[in-house]
């Protein structure tokens, strides 16, 4: 979770440009944001690996730092780019490399994905506000409501 205010649950993927847009809008809004991974492998082939990377960073208390780094630049998402990002963020690389291939991390990502499927998510980004699904980048009306 990050921020304070209305709780917004976002289902997204790091390879999805609309998610980057939605994420930037939410980061600037007065919301308490929860991010859940929704990697659709056949659409975004790197998305699941990137979700694993973010969860590996989370095990070192750096989830939002890597999350924001990935959302801010989606054109550098290969492994060497991830390693550079980790160095910049002070993430222990050896531990990161082992954690992102662990069952704990992949289970976490799959749990997020399944929860999205069960909640009716079909595309990213998908936002839940007060239990209501809003598909796509939040529009001005929704942002105004969030404050």
């Amino acid at each position: 979770m990050r921020g304070e205010g209305t709780v917004v649950i976002e289902y997204g993927s790091y390879e999805c440009p609309f998610c980057a847009k939605a994420d930037a809008l939410l980061a600037a809004a007065a919301v308490r944001q929860v991010f859940r991974h929704f990697p659709v492998d056949s659409k975004h082939p790197r998305a699941r690996a990137l979700a694993h990377a973010a969860e590996a960073a989370a095990l070192q208390g750096r989830f939002w730092e890597l999350h924001e780094s990935l959302m801010a630049d989606q054109s550098h998402l290969d492994d060497p780019h991830l390693w550079r990002r980790c160095e910049e963020l002070g993430i222990d690389l050896d531990r990161f490399e082992s954690d992102r291939r662990s069952a704990e991390v992949s289970d976490r990502v799959q749990r997020d994905f399944r929860s999205g499927i069960r909640a009716g998510v079909a595309t990213t980004p998908a936002l839940f506000v007060d239990g209501v699904l809003h598909a796509g980048v939040p529009d001005a009306e929704l942002l105004a409501r969030l404050g």
Partner: protein, 163 residues
Amino acid sequence: MPIIEAGTAAPDFTLTDQDGNEVSLSDLEGQTNVLVFYALDFSPTCTDQLNVYQEVLGELEEQGAKLYGISIDSAFAHKAFQDHLGVTIPLLADFEPKGEVAKAYGVYIDERGHNQRALVMIGPDLEVKWSYHAPTSLEIPGANLIFDALEKYSGDVAAEGRM
């Protein structure tokens, strides 16, 4: 004509899949099937829809459901679309006479010349068990609807002592 309702015998059909093989209603007997009627190969929303169903295909099959996509595109277009997406869901060509099967299932939009986005579950006895159409063509029915219907339908079968 409104979408076909639960309790109706599934209208017969024989269509060609993406590889040129014929698939008939009788091939669906003995298994639970979900016909996924969608608008057009390569359209953005249909792409997203098939992509997300592909992600849960294994889980749906574990629960005994077989999915078939149906649109008015030709078998060759289906093959290219399937390859492009990397999906394995069989795609049936309701190509000639155009949309005949979709019309029989009440999911064809005459003024647009393609299907509405709809799901029809056909039981092992070839009876329609459940149907759903999206309120707008831009709305993708979540895979949760299929899981819910499977759960409910399995419950009905168990209750009737047929399992």
